[in-house]
Structure formats: structure tokens, C-alpha cells
């Protein structure tokens, strides 16, 4: 299968690979997927407590090129957004930006799940209620 140029670019030059200190109260961590399914994403956000803005985001992904690109793109989009703005990121935005083919849509769904899981982790750590998340088809 041929990959889109954007997927190749993220794969070759992934943005924001790394690890944030998950012990910190203002860091939220989302770990989604499963090794048996061939995709695991870990996405982390660090929130500036005064402004409520996501000041840093990092990822690590086990998966195909599209999964790596989806999570790399997600971290780029997260930085500079408020937590509420981040919640609005939809997997179809990722599909569109990366030109993902139908068989790779699950990669974008996983990235959206990872964003939401990271936000929920942040919320729970900071005494906020966990958000009910709609189930998307993988």
C-alpha cells in the first residue's frame, strides 16, 4: 500500500516523541490499544495550571506508519489548545489531514481515544469528574 506524503513525513520525522513525568499532577496520560491488535498508543499532555492551556504533549506508539503519524499529528494539534478545545478533536480531522485510507481509519480512532484518555486521566487527578466517552467503531 502506498502511504500519503504526510504519513511518510510524520513517520520519518515524528513530532514530540517522548515521555512526560506521569507522577506530576498536571500531566495526563492515555494508554490505548493492545499489543495483540498491533497498535498501542500512549499520549501525554501537560497542562499549564494557570491558563488551562496544554503546554506540552508527547507520544509513543507501537504500530504501523499510520498509527505513528496519527499520534504524532495529535500531539502537534494538542499543544496550545485548552483542554476543552482538545476534546473537540475528531478522528475524521486526522483522517482528512493525513489522507488515511479506509483500512487505516482505526488508527485515527485510536488517536482520538488516546487524547480523551489523557484528558480523563488529567481530570481525575485534579478532582474533576471523568467524562463519559462515546464509543467509536474501531
Amino acid at each position: 500500500m502506498a502511504y500519503s506524503e504526510k504519513v511518510i513525513d510524520h513517520y520519518q520525522h515524528p513530532k514530540n516523541v517522548g515521555t512526560l513525568d506521569k507522577a506530576k499532577k498536571n500531566v495526563g496520560t492515555g494508554l490505548v490499544g493492545a499489543p495483540e491488535c498491533g497498535d498501542v498508543m500512549r499520549l501525554q499532555i501537560e497542562v499549564d495550571e494557570e491558563s488551562g492551556i496544554i503546554s506540552d504533549a508527547k507520544f509513543k506508539t507501537f504500530g504501523c506508519g499510520s498509527a505513528i503519524a496519527s499520534s504524532s499529528l495529535a500531539t502537534e494539534w494538542l499543544k496550545g489548545k485548552t483542554v476543552d478545545q482538545a476534546l473537540a478533536i475528531d478522528n475524521m480531522d486526522i483522517v482528512e489531514e493525513l489522507n488515511l485510507p479506509p483500512v487505516k481509519i482505526h488508527c485515527s480512532v485510536l488517536a482520538e481515544d488516546a487524547i480523551k484518555a489523557a484528558i480523563n486521566d488529567y481530570r481525575v487527578k485534579n478532582g474533576l469528574a471523568e467524562l463519559e466517552l462515546e464509543e467509536k467503531k474501531h
Binding site: 511518510i8 515521555t19 498491533g38 504501523c64
Partner: protein
């Protein structure tokens, strides 16, 4: 990679010779006249065009038979191994219906065998799918135990297309003989690569294909034993009665000529080629196993000389291939690359977890593989594995000593 020493290397490198091989130029040369001036139908008995074509087919049949130590009358030309597998299994099932309806095969067979067996089950056949051991070999005691009064055929492949493991063919045929059961082997990956001798190996029926041994695509053969015992199959393709009624359809003369030439070259060069390729394969394997958490899949002692299947734990196969697939062509056991979305059923049959199956690469070396290509491949794959592990959350957890099985993964 910008290694200076690879400046003259021509890319991409082909390391998927289990999927198909390029035609040897000597094969193409032998075929060419049979497209143009020698275009006749081998079944045309009334003129020279037909006689020339028939002669060419007869000669090719000798070349093919000689490679496997068979008689020419024991060779039925087909469109490839898939058709030969179908003819062997369905043909025996039909021909020996009065004797029984039970077939024994194993879980790591090619789909051409497994799906044909599924079809036979729908027709009222009974099929036992033997499991394999962790090294990919079948358990001979289990094979013998599976035989019943209704068993008509044992169908076990010679060399496996994904892991290269070579089954104990002579032991299997001895068991078949002892119980008066026929033995069929899909030898598509073995013929032309290692010595295959239908007499010494005790094989009753055998499928193989030209395009896996530097011949053209779309031509293959079924060997059917004529003596001790005389084996018969029911034709699955009816029509003009070609191939003594066993397989109707105008002979693919250029293809068959190429197949014959390919067999002759293999017969003469196989020994030296196997020795050369096993040295290269071992070099590749040794180089890649310098990586931590890299494992060879399947038995390494009973294995085709040109095949290696390796899992690189904590990186996913398709993601891995993307790192070099512009420059190196090979295949992965990962779900994402195959059409089925399931990771390799062969690797799963060895008891590999889905995660290891997802992390595997299959290397198939061939006649035109060079040491320089292998050196380049070792470097490129190592570099990509290291890069992707830096990006892998599983690798980080492994390094921190976290047991991945202790985590509750969200399955979907």
C-alpha cells in the same frame, strides 16, 4: 542510510523469494521461440507446428521429472501449485471414496491446501488438522494416532512458505506406507531448493510450481506415482482430455518449456546455490540477532537454506517495513500488511502470541541475492528497529521491567 560502501548498490533489494522468484534469463531465452515461430498447439497432431510444440513439452517433462527422480508419465502439468493442490486433494477424495473419506493435514499448510480441505469437508469429507510443535514440525506420534480405517490421504507440506521449516518427509511417508494410506506433499517451496526425490522420500503425490524456482508464473505440476502403488486421481478439469485426461486445457507450451529449463538449472546448480544462500542467510540472521529481543521463528535445523523468519519484539511489522520498504522488499506476518487483518496463522500455530506475530519479518533469499545486499539489509533493519523502539511505549515498559501481561489492555 548513507553508507559510502553501498554507493554502487542497486535498490530496491528483493528478499521476498518465497512469494515469487524472478525468471532466470536462461529460462526466458528458452521460452521466447515458443511465443512466436514455434507457437503451435501441442495437441495438433496433423502438422509440424503441433509436433514441434509436443516435442518441446515432452522434453520439458523429462527435465521436470529428472529433478525429482520421477518418470515422465508421472508428471501432470497444471497452472501452478494451487491447481496441483486442488487436483491432488479433490482428485484423491473422489477417486478413493469407496475406501474412505478421511484426510490428515496440518495447520501450517498453505491456503491452497487448507481451503481445499475445507471444501472437501463440505462435500462430506472428514479432515484432521494436526497442530504443530513450537518449532513448526508435526508430531509423528500424533500423525500416526490420527490414522483411522477411513483415512485415505496424508497431506503434509515439504517446506513451509513462511518459516521455511522442513517436515520429516521420509518418516511421514513411512507411516503412510505402514498404514496403506497415500501421502501427498505440497513441495512448492522445496523443489529446486533442496534435494527432493520422490522415490527416496516415498512420496505418492506432489505439487510444485515454476515461479518459485526461477521459472515463469502460471505453470506447475502434480506428480502422481504410477508404481508401488499406482495412484489415480479424478480429473477436476474436464474437456479435451489433455495430460492423459487428468487435466484438460491447451498446454501452456512456453510456460512448460520455461518450467523445464528452470528445473534443469536447479538440478545442476541447486547444491552450490543452497550452500551459498545458507551462508548469507546465517550472516543475515546473526547480524539481526545482535539486536536485543529478536527471535527466530521455527526450527533452525530442519529448514530451507534461504529462509529466515524473525520477530523483533516491541515493534510492529508494518511500521517496521515502512522504514525501509522503499529499498528492501520483504513480507511481514503482521495483520496490517496481509489482506486478512489477522496476523499470520502459521506463526500463531507455533504458539506465538499475536504481539510476536505482529512483529515478524520473513526473509526469502534467492539466486540473485548478493552479500552486499545482505550487509545493507542488516544495517537498514537494525537502524529502523532501534528507531522504532525509541518510539515504542511497549519497549519503554519492557525496559522499566513492567510485565506487559499485567496490563489490562483495551481490546476492540
Amino acid at each position: 542510510m548513507g553508507f559510502i560502501e553501498f554507493m554502487d548498490l542497486k535498490l530496491p533489494i528483493y528478499l521476498d523469494n518465497n512469494a515469487t522468484t524472478p525468471c532466470d534469463p536462461r529460462v526466458v531465452e528458452a521460452m521466447l521461440p515458443y511465443f512466436t515461430e514455434k507457437f503451435g498447439n501441442a495437441a495438433s497432431r496433423s502438422h509440424a507446428f503441433g509436433w514441434v510444440a509436443e516435442e518441446a513439452v515432452d522434453y520439458a517433462r523429462e527435465q521436470v521429472a529428472k529433478l525429482i527422480n520421477a518418470e515422465t508419465k508421472e508428471i501432470i502439468f497444471t497452472s501452478g501449485a494451487t491447481e496441483a493442490d486442488n487436483l491432488a486433494l479433490k482428485g484423491v477424495f473422489e477417486m478413493y471414496a469407496s475406501k474412505g473419506n478421511h484426510i490428515i493435514t496440518c495447520t501450517t499448510e498453505h491456503k491452497a491446501v487448507l481451503d481445499t480441505c475445507k471444501h472437501i469437508e463440505k462435500l462430506g469429507g472428514e479432515v484432521t488438522y494436526l497442530p504443530v510443535k513450537a518449532d513448526g514440525l508435526i508430531d509423528l506420534a500424533e500423525l500416526e494416532k490420527a490414522i483411522t480405517a477411513k483415512t485415505i490421504l496424508i497431506a503434509i507440506m515439504y517446506g513451509n512458505n513462511e518459516i521455511g521449516v522442513v517436515q520429516p518427509i521420509r518418516e511421514i511417508s513411512a507411516i503412510a506406507r505402514k498404514h496403506g494410506v497415500l501421502f501427498f506433499t505440497d513441495a512448492t517451496q522445496a523443489v529446486g531448493k533442496i534435494p527432493v526425490d520422490v522415490q527416496a522420500d516415498g512420496i505418492d503425490l506432489m505439487a510444485f510450481s515454476a515461479h518459485k524456482m526461477y521459472g515463469p508464473k502460471g505453470v506447475g505440476a502434480l506428480y502422481v506415482r504410477r508404481k508401488n502403488p499406482r495412484v489415480k486421481v479424478t480429473a477436476q478439469m474436464d474437456g479435451g482430455g489433455h495430460e492423459r485426461g487428468m487435466r484438460s486445457g491447451t498446454m501452456n507450451v512456453p510456460g512448460i518449456v520455461g518450467f523445464g529449463k528452470a528445473c534443469e538449472i536447479c538440478r545442476k546448480e541447486m547444491e552450490a546455490e543452497a550452500a551459498r544462500l545458507s551462508i548469507l542467510r546465517d550472516k543475515l540472521e546473526k547480524g539481526l540477532l545482535e539486536l536485543e529481543e529478536a527471535y527466530v521463528n521455527g526450527n533452525t535445523e530442519h529448514r530451507l537454506p534461504h529462509v529466515a523468519n524473525i520477530s523483533f519484539k516491541y515493534v510492529e511489522g508494518e511500521g517496521l517495513m515502512m522504514g525501509f520498504n522503499k529499498n528492501i522488499a520483504l513480507s511481514s506476518g503482521s495483520a496490517c500488511t496481509s489482506a486478512s487483518l489477522e496476523p499470520s496463522y502459521v506463526l500463531k500455530a507455533l504458539g506465538l502470541g499475536d504481539d510476536l506475530a505482529h512483529s515478524s519479518l520473513r526473509f526469502g533469499l534467492g539466486r540473485f541475492t548478493t552479500e552486499e545486499q545482505i550487509d545493507y539489509t542488516i544495517g537498514a533493519i537494525k537502524e529502523t528497529v532501534l528507531k522504532l523502539r525509541e518510539m515504542s511505549p511497549l519497549w519503554e515498559m519492557f525496559k522499566e521491567g513492567i510485565d506487559l501481561n499485567s496490563i489490562e489492555w483495551a481490546h476492540h
